[in-house]
């Protein structure tokens, strides 16, 4: 029996398919405006499988076609532990959430922390800033900012205020890669603060879309004074974790 995990996030939808515990397929799409339709499309070509949903859309999926639901916390824990055995802490920065998850020696969640209602310091923040500074893509924004010179300080964490701060810095003649570096630093510092608040243990795995940003990774590693453990595909940790949860579930699947 196949186990399918779908992670319906605010920005992307991840899908992971396991056969006898082996990953045979993974796919990532933009969430778009009709997330459930997108998921259904992604599932179309699959044979009957046990489907486990996680992410913001988990309940909607549970009401329509998923057989099981788990939270992003549990999904990321399962996924990260699978990819990076021995990890003690997971930092996940997604489209609009930041999470820190603490694990025991068996890989079970012992505590977690999530940002409140504000999406400051998440992927959405970087997206808005990339646009404000005129970068074509997030990849370019991250790559270029890594080359920026330190010394610029962004004091606001609010996406709206930080955007106007970045724009006034542009007007004052600061090179945009320097401003970019400062914006990335504010994201890294916020995540670092959250890690410190929960008394994290090393090693730390970094998952979620922001983990693909080389500038945030480099700055965080500087703050933590250690290498972060990176899953091969950090955006897929949630979907993989959901699929792994499906494998563990004792209930049989009758239909999709």
């Amino acid at each position: 029996m196949l186990s399918v995990g779908i992670d319906i996030g605010s920005r992307t939808i991840g899908l992971a398919v396991l056969e006898e515990g082996r990953l045979i397929r993974e796919e990532l799409r933009d969430t778009g405006f009709t997330p459930l339709e997108t998921v259904k499309e992604m599932l179309l070509s699959l044979p009957p499988a046990r489907i486990t949903a996680t992410g913001y859309g988990r309940h909607a999926a549970g009401a329509e076609f998923a057989h099981g639901i788990i939270t992003e916390i549990k999904a990321h824990a399962l996924g990260a532990v699978h990819c990076c055995p021995g990890v003690k802490t997971i930092l996940d920065i997604g489209g609009q959430d930041t999470k820190v998850i603490l694990l025991d020696h068996r890989g079970s969640v012992t505590d977690f922390q999530m940002n409140d209602k504000c999406s400051a310091g998440t992927g959405k923040f970087l997206e808005v800033m990339a646009t404000a500074l005129g970068y074509e893509s997030l990849e370019e924004f991250g790559r270029e900012s890594l080359l920026g010179n330190p010394g610029v300080k962004i004091s606001s964490m609010c996406t709206v205020f930080a955007e106007s701060e970045a724009i006034s810095l542009l007007h004052s003649g600061r090179p945009r890669r320097d401003i970019g570096l400062a914006l990335h630093l504010s994201v890294a510092e916020k995540a670092y603060g959250m890690l410190q608040r929960v008394h994290h243990h090393k090693p730390v795995a970094f998952t979620g879309g922001v983990a693909r940003n080389p500038c945030v990774v480099a700055l965080l590693e500087g703050l933590l004074k250690e290498k972060l453990i990176m899953p091969q595909n950090p955006q897929m940790a949630g979907a993989l974790g959901a699929a792994l949860a499906g494998c563990q579930s004792p209930e049989p699947v009758t239909s999709t």
Partner: protein, 424 residues
Amino acid sequence: MGNGYREMWKSLGLDLDAHDQLLQALPPTYGEVYLSQQDRPAAMEYFDFVINEIHGLRIQELQEHKASGGKVVGTFCVFVPEEIIRAAGGICIGLCSGIDMGAAQAEKVLPRNICPLIKSFMGFKLAKVCPYFESCDMVVGETTCDGKKKAFEILNDYVPVHVMETPQMKRERDMVLWREEIGDLVTGVEALTGGDVTADSLRQAIKEVNGKRRALLRLAELRKNNPSPISGKDGLLIEQIAMYDDVERFTLKVNELCDELEIRLKEGKGAHKPGAPRIIVTGTPMAVPNWKVAHIIESSGAIIVAEELCTGLRYFANTVPENGENIEEMLDLLGKRYLNINCACFTPNQGRMEDLLRLAEEYKADGIIHCSLTFCDPYAVEANRVEKILREKGIPLLKIETDYGQEDSGQLKTRIEAFLELIG
């Protein structure tokens, strides 16, 4: 609520348009949170009726009381001794303030960043949408937290406010102060109602309010069972209604509900699926119609077995000894009972920590959820003490800080579900 009450609302000076909006907000929420629950006890019908008539029948009763010369006194805190108001012939109404209402009006006189409960009561008053508030001849405030203490100065511009100085510590000299405050309340309430607080009337009032508290305690006891015979949401609703319903009728109805729940327990009927995690909610009060967190917790598959809240055990956990010989003794006993409430406005507040550990044991709780309203310094800071002691004892804790808005519901649901996964 029918249009039959419009004249009454108009005569109370309500802003009818704004009031209509408020009334329209309630039924859909109530339907989703309460009426959608499966197999509720039949005796919950009365409490549904009370909510359905929240601005109708009860207000009419208050108006009839006023028409015959009676007075209505509003309160915002479980420290205000309702026995005294009752003994002087008044009706005590715990004003609710559990919805974001009239915020723009409230912000004319209050800072933008303030506890939502304070903003709500000011909004209710300034927007003229609460018939309870408009029925009040006097409000009794207290100095429990800074926000309320200062807001009462402003509220006094719109309705007479008698402020009781609630001590911040529980030493002998604090008791002396509090006892004097109780005496002043007697004088203040007597001046308002024109009735005397006598040994007989106070004895009677103590008995009646004790009766209400005992009924609530009986209900709380039943929730120690596994399965719990009633949902935590229904428990919270009853504790909220306790603040403003007619004392004797309410007592009778809670006892009737308990009779039914005892039968349900004998039949092995619970209000939840077997094995649902048992949760205690602790923190700031949840005033009508603030059912947000309770609804998220229970719709995520857990059962709330107790509320260590002002809308909960803090309100009824202790009764007043009924053996006071004379009025002075009765007031002493009354004062002691009230000063025993373990609110975060006290320092230190070790009693609350002991309460939580005892409750976790007695109610066989799997976890505790600490809910604090935004900008509530006493509870938000005290959460650290709660966390420390619960960690030492290995009791799982989730800390939440939220207000009356719904925009964080998705994130709260994720956090609460993840907490339930963790303790499950």
